[in-house]
């Protein structure tokens, strides 16, 4: 290569290199800009984090400190059902203890009492960084503990949940654990809302009325005692809105110190009102009546069915408890709680229409309610004519007492179904509901319900002046594939005042036993109906329902069809 050519090549090469370096520099600027973006991102995120409310610095190393206050829960009149307050706790950081653990344990035991010093000492000398010694310390004791001046002891405050009414509405309210997490009931279902730091001061207002709840719990518990029942439940519902005014499940537990025991139905936390499903027996006959009238199967009270002989379905027989062994009119079927008559009526309604009505009444799905504990109804595997007949009088379909209350509310309020709710509804939140029955059907079934209390199986449910109407339901509990004669679930589903129904009251007893005063009977009329009577007698004044001697339902249309009935005004 000549020197000149070599020189040209060099210049070309150098030129190329310079061009490439220029491109490299441009591209490095791009890289620099990317790093600039990363810095901006970091800065923005830092600002985002640092400018938020700082978390509790003092003890952020222990999980529990992150528990914020939970919003209070109050009843419809604003009185407390659940509230959070700051309690003292005592914890130890064993690695930072200076004094002799045995001696410190002694001192701590002397201050807080009721604790074994050896036990405390074990805590103080455990291998770990941090542990609670005592979760709840009285404020006065906290001062004394601080005065010990031991750097390894930590006296701090954390939020504690308190239920001032104790067991009163325990199943409904549920409880939060020591770490501030809702474990059951509303506390669990509304956990997110209750923990929301922005709404911690804003109480959640329930539809419950503490006064009504007190009455319901007291009367139900007394009756359970009297009849040695293993459980029970009671519901008071506003039929115009679906608001639950009171709801209880017995036995109860104390949400302040929930004990976990038993299992399944034997656990006191088992909610018999909304979670347990039962065959609720003849209370279903009111539903069947309403369906029959609404679907045109029954158009006149003078209609009736022959109830002189039991119906055979396979090896099963449908019989009447208060057998009259004759043709019965519609009011008589209801009044005497005839299974035979109701079953025949249900055949005329047919399985499809029966299912459709039950579904509209919410009886085939889990109830809609602000609780996690909602029982799923047990339906027959094959819903044929046999099932239709048994379901018509409350066997073969197990539902919760809440289902029943909501369905009764729809029947008596003029035919509109409202979803049950535990939240107090404001005047502008009145639910529209879903029409299931016509006003005419509703009025006729109301008269039938009133008839049962005045002249039929529900006489023990009457509350002087408050025009109670309702229906008994006595069912044998299923056991080992059959039914157990002696284990009953007795229910009384009622409404008052029947001339303008405002509230539904359901009382249910699980396995009540007969006593001398009831002549050995444990049926609903003897066990559940009196609860309803006493509850209504006491709550009606609280709920502004005025007693009256003059107002009542006109029963003449019904009584005209009841053989041997005297018109009783």
């Amino acid at each position: 290569m000549s020197p000149a050519a070599l020189r040209t090549l060099r210049i070309q090469l150098a030129g190329k290199r310079q061009a490439h370096l220029r491109r490299a520099r441009q591209r490095m600027v791009v890289g620099m800009a990317l790093f600039g973006c990363l810095t901006l991102l970091t800065g923005a995120r830092l600002a985002d984090l640092a400018l938020r409310e700082p978390v509790g610095v003092a003890n952020a190393h222990n999980l529990w400190e992150r528990i914020g206050p939970r919003a209070p829960i109050v009843d419809r009149n604003g009185s407390d059902l659940a509230r959070s307050f700051e309690a003292y706790y005592l914890a130890v950081k064993p690695q930072q203890l200076i004094g002799d653990p045995a001696e410190i344990a002694e001192q701590i035991a002397r201050i807080i009492g009721e604790r074994d010093p050896a036990d405390i000492q074990k805590k103080l000398s455990h291998r770990g960084k941090w542990a609670y010694v005592e979760r709840r310390v009285m404020p006065r004791d906290a001062q004394a503990l601080k005065a010990l001046g031991e750097p390894g002891l930590e006296i701090g405050r954390e939020w504690e949940r308190v239920y001032p009414n104790g067991t009163l509405a325990a199943h409904t309210i549920g409880h939060a654990n020591a770490d501030g997490e809702g474990m059951a009931g509303l506390e669990r279902q509304l956990d997110e809302r209750l923990r929301d730091p922005d709404r911690a001061d804003e109480p959640v207002q329930l539809s419950l009325d503490t006064r009504v709840q007190h009455v319901l719990v007291q009367e139900l518990a007394a009756q359970m005692d009297r009849h040695s029942a293993i459980g029970g439940s009671g519901i008071v519902m506003d039929v115009r809105t679906g608001e639950l005014i009171a709801m209880t499940s017995q036995p109860v537990f104390d949400p302040n110190a929930p004990k976990f025991g038993g299992g399944g139905e034997m656990d006191p936390r088992f909610n018999r009102a909304t979670y347990g499903v039962y065959e609720l027996g003849s209370t279903f006959k009111a539903l069947t009546m309403a369906m029959a009238m609404e679907s045109g199967v029954v158009t006149s009270m003078a209609q009736g069915y022959d109830a002189s002989a039991p119906i055979r379905i396979g090896r099963h027989r449908i019989r009447d408890f208060h057998a009259k062994n004759r043709w019965l009119s519609v009011p008589e079927i209801f009044m005497y709680s005839s299974n035979i008559g109701t079953a025949k009526m249900a055949l005329d309604i047919g399985p499809e229409r029966q299912q459709s009505y039950l579904s509209q009444l919410g009886m085939l799905d889990r109830p809609t309610l602000e609780l996690a504990e909602r029982g799923k109804p047990l339906q027959p595997p094959r819903w044929g004519e046999a099932s239709t007949m048994t379901i018509s009088y409350g066997h073969g379909l197990s539902v919760t007492p809440l289902h029943l209350a909501a369905a009764y509310a729809a029947i008596v309020n003029g035919g509109v179904y409202h979803e049950p709710t535990l939240m107090k509804l404001g005047l502008d939140e009145q639910p529209e509901g879903r029409r299931v029955f016509s006003e005419a059907t509703s009025a006729r079934v109301n008269a039938l319900l009133r008839l049962v209390v005045k002249n039929g199986t529900g006489r023990n449910a009457e509350a002087e002046g408050y025009r109670v109407g309702g229906k008994t339901g006595t069912a044998e509990k299923p056991k080992n594939g059959g039914y157990a004669r002696r284990s009953l679930v007795t229910t009384f589903a009622a409404a008052f005042p029947m001339d303008d129904p405002q509230y539904v009251v359901v009382a249910m007893l699980d396995e009540p036993k007969g006593i001398k005063e009831t002549y050995g009977y444990a049926t609903a009329g003897w066990t559940a109906a009196p609860v309803v009577s006493r509850v209504i007698g006491r709550i009606a004044p609280l709920l502004d329902v005025a007693p009256s001697d003059t107002k009542d339902v006109d029963l003449s249309e019904m009584l005209a069809q009841v053989r041997g009935a005297k018109e009783t005004g």
Binding site: R10, I11, L13, A14, G15, K16, R17, Q18, H20, L21, R23, A24, R25, R27, M28, V29, G31, M32, F35, G36, L38, T39, L41, T42, G43, R45, L46, A47, L49, A50, L51, R52, E53, P54, V55, G56, V57, A58, N59, A60, H61, N62, R66, Q95, R127, K129
Partner: protein, 392 residues
Amino acid sequence: MRALRTMFSRGDRTILGRWFWTIDRPLLGMVLLLMGIGLIAVAAASPAASQRLSGANYTYADLYFLKRQVIWVAIGLPVLIAVSMLPKLWTRRLALLGTAGGLAALAALPFLGDEGTNGAVRWIIIGGSQVQPSELLKPMFIVTTAWLLAFRFDDPKVPAIPASGLLLVLIVALLMIQPDLGQTVLVSSIWVAQAFIAGLSATLLAILIAIGAVGILMAYLFVPHVTSRIDRFITGEGDNFQAERSIDAIRSGGLFGTGPGEGQAKFSLPEPHTDYIFAVIGEEFGMIACLFVAILFLAIVVRVITQLFDEDDPFVTVAAAGLAAQIGLQAFINMIVALDLLPSKGMTLPFISHGGSSFLALCIGTGMLLSLTRRSRFLTRAAEPEMRLGAT
């Protein structure tokens, strides 16, 4: 007397004097500042780390990790200075040798390695201390890549990109055996950045980014340890404890921090002295200190690159840019993980996190960076290349 007076004067012609006048002093200053911040941060994190790592059989003293960090700095800083004194040629040789040695060590890992804390084999125990070959390999590989890619500047037909790409594939394969997704992503990103500077076409760049995305997806689908980490990050479910504690620490610090020694959230941080040291800084010294650290890393990158505008040697350009990118990327990945914007990676915060081979490797890498960028600080680049050529 005279010697003292002339020391570090411009007339000083000794090795030290020449080093002082040719080194990128602002860069060195920033690195020293970061190491200083590191000592303070490790001092803050040390009690938390001691408590966390103390077991039933052995308890660490509160300031154990601070003492160790002082020793690491005492080892690392002389190494950094010594490497920065190497001539360019020697730096290159060191890198080539180091790459070969590092690859061998990495390949030997599955047989010699010690299983780490989260199902990854990353360590070799040498003389009682853990050495992570992948850390030491990083700067060596960056400089080697630069050496290969520099050939493209004179003749784009040289297959420099495929050659160095092959080397990358080898390293990535060895890293994924461990598996170490974080390092893989870091090493690959730096290589792509270097290739980009060396003239990688936009199409190829797009293809490589796509391959990277697919690679991460594959790792997510087929490497259980990666799957669980990414799942936890995305769903926020399961054990997302680490990131939440980190956020708590930064939040509890607020703008100005709780003050040194006052932090409490740091005690529940995992790896407070290494992976989550940024959160400790956040808690005790506040958001403003954090921001300062982030800006310092940005400043290092900016300083290196702006200095490279006057550089005529393609090898130096690509190597220095790569080393700066390593420091910057590693720093920002660490910080962004601590801020819970990326899933946990197991990456240290350069110069600040407590020691180990990562710190030593950074000292070597930074030493190389300083050695490569040494030049007369009084000359600027000739405006037109032809002028200099004309002089020959």
